[in-house]
């Protein structure tokens, strides 16, 4: 049986500052080596100053993944030499004296499959290495320490996955969950990274590192299973090793480094006293925890009668569900859900588009109300939304500028109907004998009014005219 386990690293991107100093956790906006200070550079004499918010956020993650949370947590030093590590040790957590990391054993359901969480730990991200030069011989390594000290949560799973699909489903659920908790923005480059270990029946465990994205993770796991199976089928032994994902060639390659032989000489970080996380703190965190995705979905379906699939899409994306929560009323909920999932999603499907978009919850409210009262057709509403996202102007302004308001003036509409009926005499005949074909005429009216005719009124007027024509 194939066994796959994961180690996921998730940056707590929503925090203000780094794990041990007041430099920004959002290092991405800085020029190289500008988001640094004596602490995150590990200058002589500096000491770590624990970011208590990070402990809280990490504890929330542990709770959401149903992990045990200890009364006291401790930090350890993991000693190794690497240029991206300013102190040449990483401050992390370890469970050698009992469970002292932010989260102990837990689990999460992925469909019908239970994935067990081994532990969750809070640690600091190292800096970033930038390689320059073409061949390995004249390659230069540059170091950017802006990222050094960024709060990172490591989530370790048991080897409970059996195939790459389960891995992908889990990662989707996990990244939605972390976003919903308000602890991280998984869409930021490098905010979520993962290592995997893979073994097939009768083979040794192989660890894959250096996987840049979740998308590649699935590929890497898939490649590794195929590689191992092909070795196994030829009776070649699968050696226990660490392999690196080659992003360019999309294969795993044996890392000749002695990484697996490293002795990290773990010991307690004396500069950070044990942190107690009392039941009161835990209760407070629990009470402030955002509603879970599954509970949101259930509420959308049961309370507003929103179809399951729509509710699924709406609840799993924090951006959309926040928008929904802000703009909906019991009356317009279904319409709002509809606008978000059919029209809005295409307009703000990337981080950049979301950032640049100018619409607000009020816009959505107005839009839903106008659709429901027949002031605007769905079709025109879609066009209006496009303009709203682009310009941020009010709905009424856009409707008048683009002439998108419904034709709901009876005499105006009657005139158009009169015109259509004289142009479409064959269809009028058919409609008289078979009322179902009346929709063709409605369509023609819509076409003529560029979709602005009030559909209900059009239908009524048409029916009346067909009867009175007789």
């Amino acid at each position: 049986m194939t066994k796959i386990g994961l180690e996921i690293h998730c940056q707590l991107t929503n925090l203000e500052s780094k794990l041990f100093c007041s430099c920004k956790a959002n290092y991405r906006e800085f020029k190289i080596n500008e988001n640094i200070c004596p602490i995150c550079m590990g200058l002589p004499g500096s000491l770590p100053r624990l970011n208590q918010e990070a402990v809280k956020k990490a504890t929330i993650i542990a709770m959401a993944l149903n992990c045990t949370t200890p009364e006291k947590i401790a930090f350890f030093r993991k000693n190794y030499f690497y240029p991206d590590l300013p102190k040449n040790f990483q401050i992390t957590q370890l469970n050698i004296y009992g469970n002292t990391s932010v989260g102990g054993p837990g689990s999460i359901m992925v469909g019908d499959k239970k994935i067990r969480i081994t532990r969750i730990q809070l640690e600091e991200d190292p800096g970033r290495l930038i390689y320059e030069g073409s061949s390995s011989k004249n390659q230069i390594t540059l170091v950017d320490y802006n990222r050094a000290g960024t709060p990172l949560v490591e989530i370790v799973t048991e080897p409970d996955f059996e195939n790459p699909k389960q891995v992908r489903d889990f990662l989707n659920i996990l990244s939605d969950l972390l976003e919903n908790l308000g602890v991280s923005d998984p869409s930021l480059e490098g905010a979520m990274r993962a290592d995997a270990n893979v073994s097939i029946q009768g083979g040794n465990k192989v660890e894959i590192k250096n996987i840049g994205s979740f998308h590649d993770l699935e590929k890497a796991v898939h490649f590794e299973i195929t590689r191992q199976e092909s070795l196994h089928s030829r009776d070649i032994q699968i050696v226990q090793e660490t392999r690196h994902w080659d992003d360019r060639r999309k294969i795993t390659i044996s890392s000749r480094s002695k990484e697996e032989d490293l002795d990290y000489r773990y010991f307690l970080e004396g500069d950070i006293p044990w942190v107690s996380i009392s039941d009161e703190i835990k209760d407070e965190l629990k009470s402030k925890m955002p509603e879970s995705i599954s509970s949101k979905k259930e509420r959308y379906v049961s309370k507003y009668n929103i179809p399951g699939q729509v509710a699924d899409v709406l609840s799993s994306d924090k951006f959309y569900s926040d928008l929904f929560e802000e703009s909906h009323t019991p009356e317009n909920a279904k319409e709002i859900a509809n606008i978000i999932t059919t029209d809005l999603m295409g307009l703000v499907d990337t981080r950049e588009k979301r950032r640049d978009s100018k619409f607000t919850a009020t816009h959505l409210k107005d839009l839903a109300e106008s659709i429901q009262s027949g002031k605007i057709s769905r079709n025109s509403a879609k066009n209006a939304l496009h303009e709203i996202v682009r310009t941020g102007k009010s709905l009424s302004q856009i409707m008048s500028e683009l002439d998108l308001g419904n034709v709901s003036d009876e005499s105006e509409l009657s005139e158009v109907i009169q015109q259509i009926m004289s142009e479409e005499q064959q269809a009028v005949k058919e409609a008289k004998s078979n009322p179902k074909t009346i929709n063709y005429l409605v369509g023609k009216v819509m076409q003529k009014t560029k979709g602005k005719a009030d559909p209900a009124m059009t239908l009524n007027l048409l029916k009346n005219r067909l009867v009175s024509d007789d």
Binding site: P38, R49, P273
Partner: protein
């Protein structure tokens, strides 16, 4: 200008207008330039000191608010960061390191108008107890320049004892404040772990070390503590001093106080002159109404081994950052091949640092940790338990600070084990986090002997009261220089 006055007398003098800060600091600098060539306490001198003192005189004259130090010249061990000045740790590795920030203790003293006259010598990275392991040459004992001044805060003790400053800050990882204080006849005080912020102190063994003052009198130590103690948001291990005034009531006496004489520290290996001084101190304390009684601390015999195992482990980690990548001693734009960085860098450590880093790589490593590092932690926790038990019966514990007299420069440098054992009486306070103080008590063969008192955690005030009582029982000669 009489430089041979205490911190409190100096403050009084400037306050009353009898002493000018400028004159005092200028004379101090003169003395440094006169005698420090022989003593080698200073690694660098602050050229702006006189100007700074002058501005304090101005403030005094114009009636402006002046900080509690009134321009008092203080020397700082060169492992404590002062912004924009070299902080070398007496190591080739940091020979040109200019600290970009002030240690918390420096900020606090600066706010109280202290003048830092210079940075003083130490064993490289504070590893040693004779100052012989300084990369820039040993300091000399002002009582006899052929002898070591103790260490690792040797420069601090020499500068205070030889009147090259009024007070000094050192750091104490296993006795590094108390040992040189004892060897140079000054007061040396290591407070409860966490009472003084370590922010800006370059770490050697961070879980047990503390910054501590070296002063002429016990009162001066209390005066310094009043300024530098307390919570610091930059050091998560600091504890709240609750604004305790350590000077007030320092003369309350020790009548009725129960003092335990640590049996293991007055037995085997102790110099007879040190032993008789210790006995004398005990009887003097008894005459003041203290009740003294022997107490056995069984774990003390393992304390030095545990101390060196733990400190080497932490040193191996704390000094790993000196890899010459972010700052260092030599530099080429092209850089070096990655793996050669650390070997190149480590060539610049001196022998004692190399020795401890090698031990530090070994004792906590997989396969050996159980035999060494974890055992050492066990000793630490058992020793702490034992000492805590003793403090249920006693208010204070007493011993000689060092079991031997100062030794000649070069006498022990090739015998690390015998050097290690000199720490036997001092490491217990570090391993248990307790406050301890060395009080100058006797001179034998022209060489000083100090007596150590130890108290329970956060009983620093009581400790200083007892030290003051002991100090009051004797009058010692001044340094012959």
């Amino acid at each position: 200008m009489n430089l041979r006055i205490s911190a409190l007398d100096y403050v009084q003098g400037v306050k009353n207008g009898n002493v000018s800060a400028e004159d005092f600091v200028a004379s101090t600098l003169e003395r440094i330039s006169d005698i420090d060539e022989r003593l080698h306490a200073f690694l660098s001198v602050n050229d702006d000191a006189v100007d700074q003192a002058r501005s304090i005189d101005k403030k005094v004259k114009s009636g402006d608010k002046v900080g509690a130090c009134f321009g008092m010249p203080i020397s700082i061990k060169d492992n404590i960061c002062i912004k924009n000045s070299k902080t070398t740790c007496a190591s080739k590795m940091l020979e040109n390191f200019i600290a970009p920030y002030d240690a918390t203790v420096i900020t606090k003293l600066r706010n109280q108008d202290a003048v830092f006259v210079g940075k003083v010598n130490l064993d490289e990275f504070a590893m040693g107890l004779s100052t012989e392991f300084s990369a820039f040459g040993p300091s000399k004992n002002p009582w006899n320049t052929e002898y070591v001044p103790g260490g690792s805060s040797g420069g601090s003790a020499v500068s205070v004892s030889a009147f090259e400053c009024i007070a000094s800050l050192g750091s104490d990882t296993g006795g590094s404040v108390r040992n040189p204080a004892s060897f140079c006849s000054t007061v040396g005080y290591k407070p409860t772990y966490g009472l003084i912020s370590r922010y800006g102190l370059i770490s050697y063994a961070n879980s047990i070390e503390q910054i501590g003052p070296l002063t002429r009198t016990v009162k001066d130590a209390a005066f310094m503590l009043n300024i530098i103690a307390g919570l610091d948001e930059n050091d998560n291990t600091t504890v709240d001093s609750k604004n305790t005034d350590y000077l007030s009531g320092i003369d309350s006496g020790i009548e009725g106080k129960r003092i335990g004489i640590i049996k293991e520290m007055i037995g085997e290996g102790i110099d007879s002159r040190v032993l008789s001084a210790t006995k004398d101190a005990i009887s003097k304390l008894e005459s003041l109404g203290a009740i003294c009684e022997e107490v056995s601390l069984d774990m003390v015999k393992y304390s030095v081994a545990a101390y060196y195992t733990i400190t080497a482990t932490e040193a191996g980690s704390n000094l790993a950052r000196y890899d010459n990548i972010r700052y260092g001693y030599d530099f080429t734009v092209e850089g070096y091949e990655f793996n050669s960085y650390i070997s190149k860098a480590r060539r610049n450590f001196g022998p004692e640092v190399k020795r401890r880093m090698m031990i530090g790589g070994f004792v906590p490593s997989a396969g050996h940790a159980g035999k060494y590092f974890l055992k050492a932690l066990k000793v630490k926790s058992k020793l702490t338990k034992e000492v805590n038990e003793a403090f249920k019966r006693f208010d204070l514990l007493i011993s000689p600070t060092v079991p031997i007299l100062p030794f000649r420069i070069g006498e022990k440098i090739d015998d690390p084990i015998s050097l290690f054992l000199v720490d036997i009486n001092t490491v217990t306070a570090n391993l248990t986090g307790k406050p301890a103080i060395s009080v100058p008590f006797a001179i034998a063969n022209g060489l000083p002997i100090g007596i150590q008192l130890m108290a329970d955690s956060m009983n620093d005030k009581l400790l200083l009261q007892a030290a003051f009582a002991l100090e009051s029982t004797i009058t010692l000669p001044e340094v012959p220089t």
